[in-house]
Symmetry: D2
Subunit: 480 residues, 4 copies
């Protein structure tokens, strides 16, 4: 099959899945007022692969299947493959209003990590996971499946290991082993896009010890499997008003608390089953691939910050003020530092034994670090240029009310030649991106998605060759 | 009379004022679903003055009237008066969930500035404004009036002076002078609390030149005067759900676009009328008093940040992690730098010729600068400690839904001994304060209220005695 | 006696003390080319106490002795005493070219801490230290003695306690107890001013456990006591050329490695002897007093930074450039944040049971934190404004050489009306303060003196009332 | 010839050049105590080209001449050429103790810029400069010449244009045009390495107007040409003691005030003569090439910072302290952000019409910006980890003095197994790099070399495609 249409994708979501939102079970996610917007947003993925302007990038002729497939399923083998992958993610995010689609990006990050790790586990433990991973990867490619990844366990008391917790289910774990598969129980937090993908890939969240071997589990499952239940979060979803919310009324991500209430996983979809020594390795390897995805999808939102700030500087007549130029320069510096380091990560990749190109870990983490570390300040620069009307301006209803529309038109104009409503729309863009429930979602995402700021710092310190530098210092002082 | 009750205050608001919100004119602001919350919030001001626990601070025996009056109307004359004023503002804000009341604070800032400036104008121009200012001040005190200040003109193209604008009404200006008063036209942006105060005080927004003398105007007017029309902003107002929005569902400020559609002001309430040389002086003098109010009301919100972060560090079991201690220390450093400098501003005040104690300008502006400059980063520290659930957690409806409540109770617990719902409430507090429409409001407020960050920097540079430092440098190098 | 003259002070230093510098023992510290500059610098302390312009501040009429004494020896009892102490330190530093004198400041910090701690130790352990501390304090006052404090042990492996060290002498400890006193052994690092003070006060450097009780020792000793040996550090001391080094050729501090090679201390001068539970308490209490000294003496150096930068901005013709104003504003913000918080620390002091006024710990540490945290950046702002000539300009010899002086005069001028040599002197001031061996000394001093940056952070976190903030958060969410 | 030996290079410097230092004219720069160290440092350039281990990188077989030449003279034509150039610069700097050699790097930057600009000038003005530039480039290559670049005019009052200055010679300018050449007068500040290179290339320092056409001049001249006089700066040069100054006693740069006292330049070496419209273009084009050199030579110094800090963390026993790990991580982040962006600049180069590969301007400037902006903070992190002994430790003379050596050996040790002297050497490395006259030189260099921080910010803002971002914002709000 190779490529599905957006409609085929939507049809596939009407499969009996159990999703809760706003206190009720959702009958059809594609028709739900909130979740449906998420569905429409990600449908872009399928549209781009068939769009003559973008198909060259988003689809490729697969040698193994002889079919045209989504390029997300191509395993990267050299810098150019990584640059293509990066460009796919950046472009689709840009076309999606600065909101990543994430229905294949993160899933293929997981598949690449599972490929790398299962090879090692198989060679040490005599297991046969790598073949299963490849078979599942091929099926996803052939059937053009969409994928979410559930990794973060709910964790309870963060200072305790799974087996030390008051409650036995704070980490997803195996509760029964059968001849034909396993039964799993537990819950994963913040699973992005889960209500509207075909498959969930589950990964362990941290390094584990022998006592917690039952938590060392990785697998995939259709979202509509019995026992899988999703509770969708309402936060980050504003009212559906494109005047007030030009971006988020049309583009959004939805996260779930993902519950595995004794879900059966057939053997063929189990990728780790108790090999606890590999849990941290798998968790980290996934995150490393996924951070490259992260630093590929971040720049378009930053571009929007630059654009919105520049537009309002024009509209307000302050584009030449020295402090505005200073803040614009900071926004550019912020954005291009992330972009430049993500490019360096692709160019300076490492080719693993399996032939897969792994983005440079230091540069990837640096790009992510800079993005997360300076995000809130970049918000402040945009808000500073935009002005206080971002939160004291009139509602659309007042703009339309004949008793008040004249006053608003007359008093809230900016520079000559720009319509008052255009100026208000630009102001609303800043509020939507930075000072709304969606803006808050973006702030949290900046800090916590793809591992927290601290996780990047730990990785940078751990992976860096400090010994090389110590040798230089010793050489300089003639020691050793 | 001296002190009014909260009910008397509410009754006074039903006076025929013209307020628009959500596309409709509001019949009774005290009963409006959004604005009513603002009314209830500020009613606290009247309650405290009669509360035995707080009356000593909030009320005082006035020598001139022989009555017990709100202490806001006492002109500060020494450091202790300023410390009392500071404590009133800090305490009422703390009791108001971290949201300043601002129905007397800002108005008396304006009255103090008008007192100082009118003395100078009178002495130069032979006018009699100071007597009017005093009379109005006394009336406010005697009748326990609430006051809003409308200063920021809508401004149009910020690069142009009023008379250079495309539109003649981008600055409030005098359109007619009569024997008994003046008629004013124009609009002011973001007038906080305007829908639920008794009087508006209007001040010029910037220094002016002779061509713009008609914009050099200051006056007071009852909100229900003919021609005064308010368009209330809906932004910053969340849904009225105290689980999702523990603070902002009960405490909020509402800003308006304040329109003067040919409003008549009787002479006795006119405090500046065309003396353009004094416009910048008055604008700045007000802002300097008002920034001291600002740095008095900011710390309680910062305290809530510290408290919410500390609570979640406990609930999540991460209180001893070194990065958490680092971030807690940063939050404390942030908060107490603002608080300490605001105290220094009171202690090191200047006594003006009129006997009024003026807070130290450098320390006041430094306190405000640090608050504004680091606000977004302090948000990031709180969000970092709170975790991703801030924007991916369940809605209250799902918490109450019997089909999902058990899962939520079981999976979203934290450390032993803390109820899941308490943990969710603490998480919701962080979202409400930092990652919601109210959080966005707070971010913009931090940057733009009481003058932007740049305004503080300009003041610090302008008011500092650099020559003293140059002399030290010259002494060191033996020059001159 | 009460007050000594500078000459009496100098005479007192010719007492047979053992000081090494540059590979040789120093015969007379007052005549040594490097150390003598330190002596001349601190002699200012005695001059000010007799200078009609300054005597009111630096001397006071002591009730107990009936004599006029140095005000450093007055125990502060209220905010005004602390403000006086602060002003003495700031003024003498300013008159000393931005370099603190530190021959009474630090010593009286130690005496105040010993007073506080010995009261507690005496009450718990039945010892009689407090009387001895008072007697010594009175003697210092009566004889107008100068004092250094030796606190930082050399420490060896910082990860180990004293008794765990490879070498038994990494902490100063008691090696013998006699009827009439004790014998101590070990070494203290960076004892500032030690070569030219009368007395050394020794304090423990950290909290200790029972195994290290012999390190819980505090005492005073004349510098010329047998076994006391000082090795003076040459770093921070530039060539004695006032053109190249306008400040440091005349004003400097000298630190020593201070060795106690079995030094006998008579009982009357022993202030702690094995009470290990009090070691950390004494170390911290001293540091808290001393940090208030620190934040009192830092602003004059910052003032010089502002002055030098402003002077060069004038001389180079760039004073109106927006980036220069930005950097000047940052320098002012930096300086006055430190100054303002140090004032708040005095105003908001705590009166201890003994009647001594203790500066507010949080504000003192915040002032010190801001000073240390932003010092290097403030250096960069000054250097940025000063320009590259700071390190590429000509030597004085070339300025004087007739073959080159004409070129230098002609080519290295700045704005009209400023002599080339004056401009070069201002440039040299920046190099001396920031880009020389003395500049390096200042950088290290900023970070490490009076406890490192981390020490301030630990103190801030430890001493802050986080529970108060947690209660506010709980109140907001209705928990408990 | 192609490649010269280090001795041939030294011999070439004994050519009668006029260099002043310390008030005297230098007879032989190779034998001068200060300048000779600079000579020995840069001689490494010639040694590497013949060293079997490095010759592959530093030399190449030139197609045009058929000779083996220094690779610096190869015009880069693709990313790999830029990566090679970058690696040459980084490696030679690393082998030179973190100090760049700069006797071909900067000169070839100028040649590449002259090539680009002269093509444009020739096509517009009908001049024949490009041929001359090529001829000079070929001669440098054939004769393996060393080159300095004199760009920064002394400038007088920075707020004035050349023709507005009080003094006519504040910018190098043409004072006479002859048939066979021109005569130039003026002075350039901070010409690095000038005393020990063969040729000086002179470039204009800024954009000019028609009135200043005589300052629009570019040329090359042998250093020993009549009228060229150099005044070497003594700053940055410490005492020649490798214990105290492990790096700078062997590796250093020397800058001069470079005087053109009516120097005759033959036509064949004149590359711009009055075409004032091109002055700014040439100044900027050079700086853009040169900033890529800058960001190639900065990382080795940063590596030394990491290495020295890591070594002392080990020696002091604090490597596992969380604040030390935090600071190490910051040092790595700092270093690799610069390195990663410099790599991105090479990979994402632009191929100019002439076929020359021009490094990406945004990424180059970002790398330089981050380096300069965070340099002083990175110094503070190293100093923080190193400890106060950096400026309070003993001199080498005291370490060798038998009366004190035993004390130093015994008391200044660190962790077990590390010799006291090794520890002191590591401490001295930190002082040499960061807290000495050489450290000060490095700080100024970080800010001012290759254009100040502000210059990078201006370039980033000017060269960025903000319109692209504005279009995205407009698309999002449906405007236009």
């Amino acid at each position: 099959m190779g490529l599905r249409t957006a409609d085929e994708f939507r049809e596939g979501l009407r499969d009996g899945r159990v999703v809760y939102a706003g206190g009720e079970q959702v009958a059809d996610v594609t028709a739900h007022p909130d979740i449906g917007i998420g569905v429409d947003h990600v449908a872009l993925d399928f549209e781009l692969a068939e769009d003559p302007e973008h198909a060259d990038l988003f689809a490729y002729d697969d040698g193994e299947t002889g079919e045209t497939c989504s390029r997300y399923f191509k395993r990267p083998q050299d810098p150019q493959d990584l640059l293509n992958r990066r460009e796919m993610i950046e472009r689709s995010t840009r076309l999606g209003g600065g909101v990543v689609l994430l229905i294949k990006e993160i899933g293929t990050d997981a598949l690449l990590a599972l490929d790398l790790v299962s090879r090692v586990v198989d060679s040490k433990a005599g297991t046969g996971y790598n073949r299963r991973v490849h078979a599942f990867h091929e099926e996803c490619k052939r059937r053009d499946l969409s994928l979410a990844v559930a990794q973060t366990d709910v964790k309870g008391d963060r200072a305790l290991l799974p087996s030390e917790q008051e409650h036995p289910d704070y980490y997803v774990h195996i509760v029964e082993e059968r001849a034909d598969g396993i039964v799993v129980r537990g819950a994963k937090a913040h699973t992005t896009c889960a209500p509207y993908v075909d498959e969930l890939i589950v990964l362990p969240t941290r390094a584990l010890k022998a006592d917690d071997a039952s938590c060392a589990v990785s697998f995939s499952t259709p979202v509509n499997a019995p026992g899988v239940k999703l509770i969708a979060s309402p936060f980050g979803s504003p009212e559906p008003n494109t005047f007030h919310h030009p971006v988020s009324a049309r583009h959004r991500m939805i996260d779930t608390l993902t519950i595995f209430d004794d879900v059966f996983i057939p053997n063929e979809r189990v990728f780790l089953k108790g090999e606890w020594e590999a849990a941290g390795f798998l968790a980290n390897t996934f995150v490393e691939f996924h951070r490259f995805t992260a630093v590929s999808y971040k720049p378009p939102l930053c571009d929007l910050f630059i654009g919105a700030a520049a537009l309002l500087a024009d509209y307000n007549g302050i584009a030449k003020a020295s402090h505005v130029r200073e803040k614009m320069t900071k926004l550019i510096t912020y954005t291009e530092t992330v972009r430049g380091l993500s490019l360096a990560a692709a160019h300076d990749c490492r080719i693993a034994d399996s032939g897969v190109a792994v983005p440079n870990i230091i540069f990837t983490n640096l790009a992510k670090f800079h993005f997360a570390n300076d995000y809130h300040q970049s918000v402040s620069w945009v808000q500073d240029i935009a002005g206080g009307l971002v939160v004291t301006g009139p509602s659309e209803a007042d703009v339309r009310n004949p008793e008040t529309s004249g006053y608003i038109e007359r008093f809230l104009g900016g520079v000559k030649g720009v319509g008052t409503e255009d100026r208000l729309r630009a102001i609303n863009l800043v509020r939507d991106l930075t000072a709304s429930t969606f803006g808050g979602y973006n702030e949290l995402l900046a800090i916590h998605a793809e591992g927290s700021l601290e996780a990047q710092k730990i990785t940078i310190f751990r992976d860096y060759d400090v010994e090389r530098c110590k040798s230089l210092a010793k050489l300089a002082i003639g020691v050793e």
